[in-house]
Every structure is written in C-alpha cells, then in structure tokens.
C-alpha cells in the first residue's frame, strides 16, 4: 500500500504552501445567469461552482406545496467532467444528502412565511471539484438567493475544517481530504456565529473540535465579506438608477391614464 503523503511539515506548511488557518482564494460573481431570478458563479481554490435560483414560484407538484410557507428545494449536482474519474450523470446518494442539508440550512434563515404555497428552487452545479464542494456550493447559493431578492435573516457562509497529520487545519484540499483524519463542513451565520449545518467525517477530540470551530467562525466572517462584495459590485451603479426611479414612480400612474385616452 502506498505511503500516505506528508500533508503538513514540521513548520506547519501544507502541500500548497498554506498555513493551518489559511483559506484557499475565493472569488464570487453575482447575477451571471440572465434567465434565473438570482445566480452566482464561485471559484474556491480549484472548485468551480454555478448556482441558480428560481422563485418564489408555484410549487409543482402541487401536493408538496405547504399552505403556510415556501419550500426551499435544492438540487446539488456534480457535472460528469468535474472530477478526474468521470462521474456518472444523475443524482447519487451523496448528491441527495448534500441537497437535503443545504435546503435545511437555508430553510432556517429564509423568511418562508412570506410566500405560502410557493417553491424557491435552487440549482447548484459543480463544474470542477477539489474538496469542500458542499461548502463552496452553499456559499454560492447564499449569494444567488440574495441576488434573487429572497428575504433572509442573513447570508450563510460555508466553510470546513479538519485534521491532517495530527494538526487541526482549515479548508481541506483534495489530498488533505483523502488522506486526512477528519473533515467537518459547516454553514454559519457570520453575525451571530450560529451554526446551521454541521457534519463530520473522521475522528476529533473535543479540544481539537473546539479549536477547529474557532478557526471556522473567523473564516466564515472573511467569506461573508467576499459574498457581500460580490453582491455590492453587482449593483454598484444602482444609486443612479434609483434616482431615475424616484422621478418615474409618479409617472407610472399618469402613463396608465394616458394610454386609455
């Protein structure tokens, strides 16, 4: 059996040169799909993720609709070409699981009661995978939901921590995930530090877990800034539009009467 590669050296440097609590570079672009109500394209390390939101819209099939609130339905999918060994197209158990936990995470922050009987349909496609896809997907979905004008208590930031070579580290890369000792993906409300998604794979002591949580919460706040920046850049010029809107709002009623004349 091949020897496990040395994931972290004595100086605390990882395979890609990062320190234990360093995130991979993240960039986000909001509003990239014209037909969707909201969308976001995200790159996180070598991960490439596309998220699209449609809704609130009529819930089909009707029998699933909730008369009191909207449903958040997430479909997470990995493109066949996103990984080294071609992934068979179609949902598998892992995709179904990630779709479920992502939907539950957002259901806890979206103001669902504002849209009874509707569905907010979220689609997230992984175009290139390099570990941490579920937290990357979640981070992209938060931006897409805000872009779609869905009212929420807060954006959610996704981040993961784990253990490699006995050291607790933030944001595992592909090899680190494959050969490491633990992987803990989370979704956090950055303002309140509340955790709305938590999963774990592997073994950690309570102390190691707490150390990882501290790193994750700090990182979530950094990621939140990147998300905010993407949304603000999308609408950076809207103040001028709003001035035009102010002037035009009264005109809309006059237009109506004019048309009838």
């Amino acid at each position: 059996m091949a020897e496990t590669p040395k994931l972290i050296d004595s100086k605390g440097k990882r395979l890609d040169g990062r320190k234990a609590n360093e995130l991979r570079p993240i960039s986000i672009e909001a509003g990239v799909l014209k037909r969707a109500d909201g969308s976001a394209y995200l790159e996180w390390g070598n991960n490439k993720v596309m998220a699209a939101v449609y809704g609130p819209r009529e819930c089909h099939p009707r029998h699933l609709a909730d008369p009191a609130r909207a449903l958040v339905r997430v479909t997470y999918n990995m493109a066949s070409f996103s990984v080294g060994e071609r992934k068979r197209p179609g949902p598998d158990r892992r995709s179904t699981e990630i779709s479920k936990v992502t939907s539950e995470a957002f259901s806890s922050v979206v103001f669902l009661e504002q849209f009874p009987r509707s569905s907010i349909d979220v689609f997230v496609e992984i175009l290139q995978a390099d570990a941490g896809t579920r937290v990357a997907a979640l981070t992209a979905v938060a931006v897409a939901l805000a872009d779609a004008g869905i009212p929420m208590k807060s954006l959610l930031a996704g981040v993961a921590f784990g253990k490699i070579g006995g050291t607790v580290v933030l944001d595992l890369g592909n090899d680190e995930d494959n050969y490491g000792e633990a992987d803990v993906p989370l979704a956090i409300i950055p303002r309140t530090e509340e955790v709305v998604l938590l999963q774990m794979d592997g073994d950690l002591t309570v102390k190691e877990f707490q150390k990882g949580m501290k790193m994750a919460i700090a990182a979530a706040k950094e990621i939140y800034e990147v998300q905010k920046d993407a949304l603000k850049r999308r609408y950076a010029v809207s103040v001028e539009e709003l001035e035009a809107k102010e002037g035009a709002e009264e005109e809309l009623e006059e237009e109506t009467v004019e048309e009838e004349a």
Binding site: D37, R191, K232, E241, A244, T256, E259
Partner: protein
Amino acid sequence: MSSPERGVVVPGDVLDGEGLKPGAGTFSEGGRIYASLLGIRREGGGYVSVTPLGGRYIPRTGDLVIGKVEDLGPSHWLVDINGPHPSPLRVNEVPWKVDFGDTASYLDVEDAVLVKVINIDETKRVEITMKDRTTRKLTGGRIVEISHAKVPRVIGREGSMIKLIEDLTNTRMFVSQNGRIWIDGEIDDVVHAVKAIEMIESDAHVHGLTDAVRDFLEATYGKAE
C-alpha cells in the same frame, strides 16, 4: 458626489438609526433592526426600509399589470401576472356577461390582458379584476419582458424615455409594474422599439442613457431611408 456602493445593504446587515422603526425589507431581532433583502437602505417617516435591487415582481394591491391567460375553467380564467402564483380572474370580475362554460369565447389561453390587482389576502392569493376603466383585453401588438426593477428606467424621468421611443419608432407602448411591456405598431418599428428597450435594460446604469437611445434610434431610422 455619492459613492455608488453607499447605501447598498445585504441580508443581515445592521440598519442603525435613532428611534427608527422596522419598515419593508427589514426585520427586528434583539432590539435591533436588520436588512432582510439585498437593496438600498432608505429612511422616511420614522421608518427604515430596504428597497430591493432585484428579484421577482411581487404583486401589490392597485398594480395595473399585463397578464397572460394560462388556463380557464367554466367560471374563471387563470392569469399569469409574473408573480409567484397565477391569479384567478372570476366571471363576475369582467365587464362581459359570461354564460357558465362559455369563458373561452371571451378570453382564451395565450390572450393578453391588462388587469388590476384588487386584493391580496393573508395566504397571498392575488385577486384581479377587469372591471376597472383602466383595464382591457390587449389585441395585436407584442409583449416583451424585462426585469421589473428596470421598469422605472424604461419610463424615464417624467415619462421622457418611453415618449422618446414611442415618438421615434411611431409605436404605442404600455409599461407595466411586473416588467411586461406591450408595444403596438408596424412590425419593423416594434422591432426597433424592442432593441431600444433591450439597450436600456442592459445599460440602465449609464449616464446620458436617454441621449444614447435617441442616437441609436435616429441612426437606425437614418439608415433605413
């Protein structure tokens, strides 16, 4: 000179201010007010609110909108008004005397109508009417859809933009709150009007957009001569 990013808030941002009450697009928690939408922070009348920058059209009572008939039953039609749900239009809310089962003779699937939103109940069911004098069936013409947030830009300050397009393309237009625009005129003129609207939608933020649209339309018609 205001920085373009000033005042843009995201869900979860704190909205500070002395003695302000939570308005539209906000929520309060633990004694503080937060934004629930991506939008522009506004203050007025003791309330702080957030005007959304994007998202779907959400119907409000009093809106006059262009709808498309999606389905019909013996005593009602189902009209898509571009909101979260299609709205029922009942036979007692139209100006014609419709016999039971005869709904298709008056409005059929795919017909376009101008309807008014008269009520939205607690379950967000939207009731519409065609009995108002401002409503009617739309015949002829073409309907295009833009983001509802861009509607004010298409209308322009004091209706200047829409009048400019109507005059230069010799068409009649109606722009409704839900982002749908009805245009009537000669086929070629309608095509030019649609191009002008697309230009506004993609360049809504540009200064001097009115001049750019005027130049574009004058060039288009200049070439045709």
